[in-house]
């Protein structure tokens, strides 16, 4: 018990104990300590920088960014239609949509719209809400409705405001493929409860009108940044099914004007690999794989390539063996020998030459490479942690071989090839056969027997996955061959892409011999892979679902030259390489650089020497037959089939036909040439890592075209036709033929002309368009038209 003594000094002691300034200092000091501790904690746990949705890192496969778990049907006895969900219909505003009741549930439905929650059992960390609200068009324009929607959410989301981060931007708002007066944006805020602020919330909202009603669609999620895009893709799946009262989605109502989007020209990227930093000089003992791009008689080869497509030319459809290509357009054998000697003298080994003499592959130590090309190599680390090397100063071709060599590749392994696959729903072979009219070919016993098709892969695959795929589908065929280039590539990163390519071709042409050309990503270039196919001479149909954003700072100029040179030789050899246009729509570079919002395309798919395959969203009827098709665009998840203008190469003479010359044309090569189902909503059934998956993307559409072409080649062979009088079914470089078929009426309509949807900037429309090219195939019709075409030439 305290004792009080009547002593005034006690008060004095108290005053001295807590003089005002002392107390305040104590308070401020304590508060500061708390702030400092909090700051340290915040800095430690702060989220990392936004990473590209496709991270070009060989250890984490680019094509499979974080995914949401599927609820796969796998293969059921009765193949389901591509999308057979439950229907929601708004009787007041007369719009409707389709959703998967296994993962979506409607939590509220009013006269003005619907709110749906997405959930998947066992994953509380994944959440998604989709709200679709509408009013009569006379009541509000899209911008007004969007504003009203955001205002209504502000009460429940703390600090809700527009998210100005370029990596979160909503570039191409549309709802159900209608983008009339469309507007939208990304917003961010914090979920708030009486117990305190909670997780961050990301929100994408967009509004559009069809002239009858105005709708605003809003997708919200609190899930982490890494999973956000795939989740938004789930919302895209539902919104793509939205039907407007005017039936607008069947014929896209578009306000996409001819005026270019601000910044839509093609200025150079600000940085090739943002976030990279120099580590050190490359260890002199490090082995580097290099290629010399050999000098070609370019003009002569270009003339010959034109003659190949000119019916009046004696060289019409006279494709050359690879040896002939080398002899006619390459350096002489003697010069080639001198180059090899020079390399050997410089300490290089493993020298590989090709009969087409397009390039020459070799390897050596970094020290030898630095000495030979008068440069020095440095190691860099990018934002993902990947270490790569590149020259610290421009390399110089030694003067004694300068006349024979135009460039060197491999001194930098900074840029990696990127696959274009996206996991999601399932198209079974039966569905694709029915929808794209492949079934009649199968019915006639055409399954690819005696045909060979090449796949270019910067990864490998497990043979057991292919065997399981065969078992699942009840098919059989020759085992897929591994053709290792530059030592091959390990299974792992990118295996799903390889399996997608193999399985898609196998589902269409199971009896065809597939050769998988496997090279290390970063260790070989596109040119090396293409050269290997030309040199082997075993396949004249090839599929490649890997691309890079075509930008000067993203691509090594020497790589570009080497790849184009190899592709020219491939065309001269009569090889058709199907190449994917990428999965970021008309903003291809966004996939590599999320903050780059310029209209860009991929490489080498934008070259005139490949068949560029874009993407669609396929809808089938209940019987699995073709119902509708849209240009693939997923505005919330930045997905879409690639398409646009090549920044450098001219449009080839054969690229002409209805719709080719349009308001966007500028004389450059235009892509895509064709398209097929690519929206992950209509992905293809694939087995990898022993499990069945559904994978979409133009990575799926590309082998689909290659596989279909294999059957068409077999049909041609059965009909004893082929290019250049060849009766073995050889089709040659197919792109010019496709445009010729599209330019005149055919007895059997070869293409489904996709007229709705788009690719995030360009709208699909009648004839050729930047979203779907000539369209998707009716394979049986196309085959018959090609046979007829070859027969009449």
């Amino acid at each position: 018990m305290s004792t009080l003594t009547p002593n005034p000094s006690i008060a004095d002691e108290l005053w001295s104990k807590l003089k005002p300034h002392r107390f305040i200092a104590l308070f401020v000091g304590a508060l500061t300590v708390f702030f400092l501790i909090a700051l340290v904690v915040i800095l430690i746990v702060k989220p990392g920088a936004a990473t590209p949705p496709c991270n070009p890192d060989p250890t984490t496969h680019c094509g499979t960014p974080p995914t949401i778990p599927q609820t796969p049907d796998s293969l059921t006895a009765a193949d389901p239609p591509v999308f057979g969900g439950k229907l929601y219909s708004n009787s007041q505003l007369r719009f409707g949509l389709e959703y998967d009741p296994k993962t979506w549930n409607i939590v509220s439905s009013t006269a003005s719209g619907v709110q749906m929650n997405w959930h998947i059992s066992g994953r509380p960390d994944l959440d998604l809400v989709l709200i679709v609200q509408g009013v009569p068009a006379s009541t509000a324009m899209p911008a007004q409705l969007l504003q009203a929607q955001i205002s209504s959410l502000k009460g429940n989301i703390l600090g809700l405001k527009a998210d100005s981060s370029p990596s979160h931007a909503l570039l191409s708002p549309d709802i159900g493929y209608v983008d009339q007066s469309a507007t939208g944006g990304a917003y961010a805020g914090t979920l708030d409860t009486p117990q305190g602020p909670g997780p961050r919330i990301a929100l994408l909202s967009m509004a559009a009108t069809d002239g009858t009603i105005t709708l605003v669609a809003t997708a919200l999620t609190t899930s982490s940044e890494e999973i956000r895009l795939p989740l938004m893709g789930v919302a895209d799946t539902v919104l793509n099914t939205l039907t407007w009262p005017s039936g607008a989605q069947a014929q896209t109502i578009s306000s996409r004007s001819s005026a270019a989007r601000p910044g839509a020209r093609n200025p150079r990227l600000a940085a090739a690999n943002p976030g990279s930093h120099y580590l050190r000089r490359t260890d002199r003992a490090t082995t580097v794989d290099l290629s010399l791009v050999l000098r070609f008689r370019q003009a002569a080869l270009d003339r010959y390539l034109q003659q190949l497509q000119d019916p009046r030319s004696p060289n019409y459809q006279r494709y050359l063996p690879s040896g002939k290509i080398g002899e006619r357009f390459g350096i002489s054998r003697a010069v080639l020998a001198r180059v090899k000697q020079r390399l050997a003298a410089a300490g290089m080994g493993g020298i590989v030459t090709y009969p087409q003499r397009t390039s020459l592959r070799f390897r050596g130590t970094a020290a030898a490479a630095e000495a030979l090309f008068d440069t020095s190599l440095g190691d860099f680390q990018d934002a993902t942690g990947r270490v790569y090397h590149r020259p610290l100063r421009p390399p110089t071709i030694p003067s004694d071989i300068h006349g024979s060599v135009v460039g060197v590749t491999g001194l930098s392994n900074e840029t990696l090839a990127v696959p274009a696959d996206i996991p999601n729903g399932v198209i079974t072979p039966r569905v694709s056969a029915a929808a794209y009219d492949i079934a009649p070919l199968h019915k006639f016993g055409l399954f690819g027997q005696g045909q060979t098709v090449a796949i270019i892969s910067f990864a490998s695959f497990h043979d057991s996955d292919v065997r399981k795929f065969d078992r699942d589908l009840g098919i059989s065929g020759p085992a897929v061959k591994h053709r290792r280039v530059a030592g091959g590539s390990p299974v792992g990163a990118g295996a799903d892409e390889v399996n997608l390519d193999i399985d898609t071709i196998r589902s269409i042409a199971p009896k065809a011999q597939i050769i998988d050309y496997e090279g290390p990503n970063g260790g070989v270039s596109y040119a090396d892979m293409i050269n290997a196919i030309i040199a082997d001479g075993k396949a004249d149909i090839a599929s490649m679902s890997w691309t890079n954003c075509d930008d000067a700072l993203n691509l090594n100029p020497a790589d570009r030259v080497a790849t184009l040179q190899a592709l020219r030789a491939a065309v001269a050899r009569g090889i058709t390489l199907f190449n994917s246009t990428g999965d970021a729509g008309s903003y291809d570079c966004q996939r590599h650089f999320p903050t780059v919002h310029r209209l860009t395309v991929g490489f080498p798919v934008d070259s005139p020497y490949v068949v560029a395959v874009g993407g669609t969203r396929l809808a089938t009827n209940a019987r699995g037959a073709y119902a509708r098709e849209y240009g693939w665009e997923d505005p919330l998840s930045n997905g879409g089939g690639g398409g646009g203008l090549n920044p450098k190469d001219r449009r080839p003479p054969w690229q002409k036909g209805p719709g080719v010359t349009n308001k966007y044309s500028n004389g450059k090569r235009q892509i895509p040439d064709v398209a097929a189902a690519a929206d992950p909503d209509s992905g293809f059934y694939v087995v990898f890592d022993g499990q069945g998956h559904g994978i979409g993307g133009t990575s799926a559409a590309t082998p689909f075209w290659a596989g279909s072409t294999v059957l068409i080649r077999q049909l041609a062979r059965r009909n004893h036709v082929g290019v250049g009088g060849n009766k073995t079914g050889k089709l040659g470089f197919l792109a010019p033929t496709l445009y010729k078929l599209a330019s005149s009426p055919q007895p059997f309509p070869p293409f489904h002309d996709v007229r709705a949807g788009g690719n995030r900037y360009y709208a699909a429309g009648p004839g050729w368009d930047f979203s779907t090219g000539l369209g998707s195939p009716d394979v049986w019709n196309l085959g018959r038209d090609i046979v007829r075409f070859l027969r009449t030439r």
Binding site: L4, I24, L128, G196, P199
Partner: protein, 379 residues
């Protein structure tokens, strides 16, 4: 002279040493213009002063320091919000009032010679319970994005009702073990421990529930004004509401079970646990519902009103409690007033400044004859 209020004979000084009544005829000369608040006679008993109500035992001179510190803390929170440093602002909001309470308890030496047990039963209990409820609420309250677009019945039930009621019970449970202690038998003790428990609870619950938000980075995207207002609500209004409501409820319990039998009904139903407990719970639940259904300025305004009601109730309880407790004591020898430093007859109020001598730091409180009385029995 005879005090006109308590009608006892008392020294002719400015204030009645028994009941604190202003004894000078001219009321206008009273520092507050009317009869002052027992714990701070220079203030009106109805003045909504946070510091003198939540920290009633502070010496008058220290009150200004506390006021300044509270204003400084509030300003810091607002500035952090304006500069979009929301996570830091959140931490500031969570620790501001608890920090002031700890400094207050230390300042007034409320723990006396048993700091550890009392500290555990008030601050530590409040903080621990706050952490527990913070974790529970993260699991029980719908955390999903659905909360952002629709306040469901589930959310209303858990976030607006059950969790606030659980919080109320746990906050009130903190000071209850101190109820039997003779040295803590004033209404003021109950109110103070209750407030301390509540403030610690609110801060800990906020930090725990919002821990994930600290991972949002230093300057996450967000509108600054709504955030600044929300931080002000979380850092000032909610802790004050909790402190006052729990303080009043605890005060009612102390009044019921520790005060002399004749004083137990001085507050009427507001001082009876059967009424005070549900009322305090209602104020807490009301605060939760306000936060659930309103935002920005309206939320701040309604929370301020809710907190004001609780504050006036607590102030009334402290005031009347201090007035009533000492009416039958004999006037003792002079002692030094901890507030004004002057000599005053030992009783309940300072004859010169009118402050309740019970509302002084423990070290300065004159020993009172009933300090050793047996525990009061409920009647």
């Amino acid at each position: 002279m005879k005090c006109p209020r308590c009608e006892h004979d008392v020294p002719a000084t400015s204030y009645c040493v028994r009941c604190g009544e202003w004894l000078v005829d001219d009321l206008s000369k009273s520092p507050s213009g009317r009869r002052g608040f027992a714990a701070s006679p220079n203030e009106s008993a109805l003045r909504p002063s946070v510091i003198s109500t939540v920290f009633p035992q502070l010496p008058r001179a220290d009150m200004d320091s506390f006021r300044f510190s509270l204003a400084l803390g509030a300003a810091a929170i607002i500035v952090l919000g304006i500069f979009r440093l929301f996570p830091l602002g959140l931490v500031g909001a969570a620790v501001l009032m608890p920090l002031l309470v700890v400094l207050y308890l230390w300042d007034v030496d409320l723990y006396e010679d048993e700091p550890i047990p009392v500290l555990c039963l008030t601050i530590a209990w409040g903080a621990g319970a706050g952490v527990l409820v913070g974790i529970l609420s993260k699991h029980l309250v719908a955390q999903g994005v659905g909360l952002a677009v629709r306040t469901s019945n589930h959310t209303l039930l858990w976030s607006g009702l059950l969790i606030p009621l659980l919080s109320f019970a746990l906050m009130l449970a903190g000071p209850l073990p101190l109820l039997p202690y003779r040295k803590f038998n004033d209404v003021l003790d109950g109110a103070t421990f209750g407030a301390a428990s509540a403030v610690a609870f609110v801060g800990a619950e906020l930090l725990t529930h919002s821990a994930d938000f600290l991972g949002a980075g230093v300057r996450p995207v967000g509108a600054t004004v709504p955030w600044a207002l929300r931080l002000l609500s979380l850092g000032i209004m909610v802790p004050i509401l909790g402190a006052c409501a729990i303080g009043a409820a605890a005060g009612a319990l102390w009044l019921r079970y520790r005060a002399p039998v004749r004083d137990r009904n001085v507050l009427g139903p507001l001082g009876h646990p059967a009424f005070a407990t549900p009322l305090a719970a209602g104020l807490i639940v009301g605060g939760a519902l306000i936060q659930l259904y309103t935002d920005t300025w309206l939320e701040l305004l309604l929370l301020a009103l809710d907190a004001l009601l609780a504050l006036l109730w607590l102030r009334r309880m402290i005031h009347l409690g201090l007035l009533q407790e000492a009416s039958e004591l004999e006037i003792g020898p002079p002692v030094s007033c901890g507030n004004c430093g002057r000599q005053t007859p030992r009783h309940t109020f300072c004859a010169h400044c009118g402050v309740s001598l019970s509302a002084m730091p423990k070290g300065q409180v004159p020993p009172r004859p009933w300090a050793d009385r047996p525990k009061a029995q409920a009647s």
